[in-house]
């Protein structure tokens, strides 16, 4: 039987109380890169669909767990409750909104289709009823050498992510952990230009999602361990069309081994703005800047799409640490980019 390790559970009623608990337990000083992930002593949990399996496998063994279910906002609303600084408001989604709620929301379905498609592509119906959008944004990176039972890892040998004294097992000469960004919603949200509201005991701030990730399998989030994502903020959807495509082994359960999101704002059939984003082909989700340059001003003609797809292919860096092969995943990137962008043409 796989039991969770023992921990002290806190269930704060407000985000502010959760932030104070994080400060009280010195969360900001936690550093998985120095201790290995099992050395992190205080963690947040929302739906628990990723953290609890990881804890059962002893990838994390926090002595203090702060459950956010009662604290996080869950609503999806036009404009949101509070001003978001200089950003124009479209829709705000409470970080506690379940994946199922996001996937079925009429505003998301009509204005932010890539987000709905990414949400419905995550795992299974049961998981989508439990997992949250905030949790998906903070999803741990994954690797064939990491997402294994403690027994397997003790027999085979630990990896850099759980034991910093060990080399990366995927590429022993790598100076950093190569675990893979695996959250489906993040490329969709990057393509849609989303931001996140983040709260800690000092206050709150809004950061662009594009600035929330770094290319490091251990320290993959730029926000601190004392930060709580409380809202996802989407800009107005006017004129935007978007979609998300996911490669996985089975049509259910599985994490992406390639994920591509595309969004364009069309005006008279001409692309005025464009974003192409990818996941599962590196330790962080990526916006493909050169793809946007190739698309803007076009009518999504074949050659413009081909240039954008080539730009995505150029920067995709899959490693041999998920299901599928490196070649298969690398080749899938331009295929999916082409399909996604072609589907956004106006009839």
């Amino acid at each position: 039987m796989l039991r969770l390790p023992r921990f002290q559970l806190h269930t704060p009623a407000t985000v502010e109380d959760a932030a104070l608990l994080l400060r009280e337990h010195h969360a900001a000083e936690q550093d998985g890169a120095k201790t290995g992930t099992p050395g992190i002593t205080v963690m947040l949990v929302a739906g628990g669909t990723d953290l609890y399996p990881n804890m059962k496998r002893r990838q994390f063994t926090p002595s203090t767990l702060i459950a956010l279910g009662r604290a996080l906002p869950r609503g999806i609303q036009n404009g949101g409750l509070r001003p978001a600084g200089p950003l124009p408001l479209g829709v705000t989604i409470g970080a506690g909104a379940t994946l199922a709620a996001v996937a079925s929301d009429t505003r998301v379905l009509s204005g932010y289709r890539a987000l709905a498609e990414s949400a419905i592509a995550i795992s299974t119906p049961q998981l989508r009823n439990m997992g949250t959008i905030g949790g998906n944004l903070c999803l741990d990176t994954r690797c064939n050498w990491y997402d294994q039972s403690l027994f397997w890892r003790m027999a085979e040998g630990m990896c850099m992510k759980t034991d910093p004294s060990v080399v990366c097992r995927v590429a022993p000469s790598s100076p950093r952990c190569l675990a893979v960004a695996s959250a489906d919603m993040v490329p969709a949200l990057l393509a849609l230009g989303a931001s996140a509201r983040v709260v800690n005991s000092e206050g709150e701030r809004v950061i662009a999602l594009a600035d929330m990730y770094r290319d490091d399998g251990i320290s993959h989030l730029t926000i601190g361990r004392d930060d709580i994502v409380t809202e996802v903020i989407l800009p107005p959807a006017d004129g935007w069309r978007s979609t998300y495509l996911k490669l996985r082994d089975r049509g259910s359960f599985d994490f992406p081994i390639v994920g591509v999101a595309a969004a364009v704002r069309l005006d008279g059939g001409i692309v005025r703005e464009a974003r192409l984003a990818m996941t599962a082909v590196g330790s962080r989700p990526m916006l493909v800047a050169a793809a946007a340059a190739a698309l803007i001003g076009s009518r999504l003609e074949d050659d413009a799409i081909a240039a954008a797809a080539a730009a995505a292919h150029k920067i995709a860096r899959p490693m041999d640490n998920t299901s599928g092969t490196i070649a298969q995943r690398k080749k899938t990137v331009p295929v999916f980019a082409t399909r996604a962008l072609a589907s956004l043409r106006e009839n």
Partner: protein
Amino acid sequence: MTKELLQLRVNGESHTVAAEPHHTLLEVLREELQLTGTKHGCELGECGACTVLVDGVPVLSCLTLPAQLDDRAEVTTVEGLARAGEGAPGSDATMLHPLQTAFAEEGAAQCGYCTPGMLMAAKALLDTNPRPSRDEIAHAISGNLCRCTGYTAIYEAIEKAAQAR
């Protein structure tokens, strides 16, 4: 670490349960309430064998902490499907849920290990969509693995139960 008292509503009954805070709903149901119908499968969210309903919504009990449930949450397990005393007129026999009857009649349970989770996922579907299409059924149980049936008998049983309601 000592056990803590939990208030749980399961299959229409209120329970005060002493359980360790790191024990999942699956473990509490089986070990403290002796409701062993809900099965341990992968215990990692990858099979659906432990599916129960919380306020009518299918969730995985292996990844749910009882302390995280709302105070008034209603948990339904496979033991809550059949209704005692509602069998044949004049008897005190238990009346099976139409899904249970259909699963038995269609051979939708072979080894039977996935069946409680399948039944709960199917109940949640029929409660919200009384006449689902085959695609909707497949989608609803896409979080439940079966290693025996190949799923066809399960689809047919759910369709039969839908027609019987």
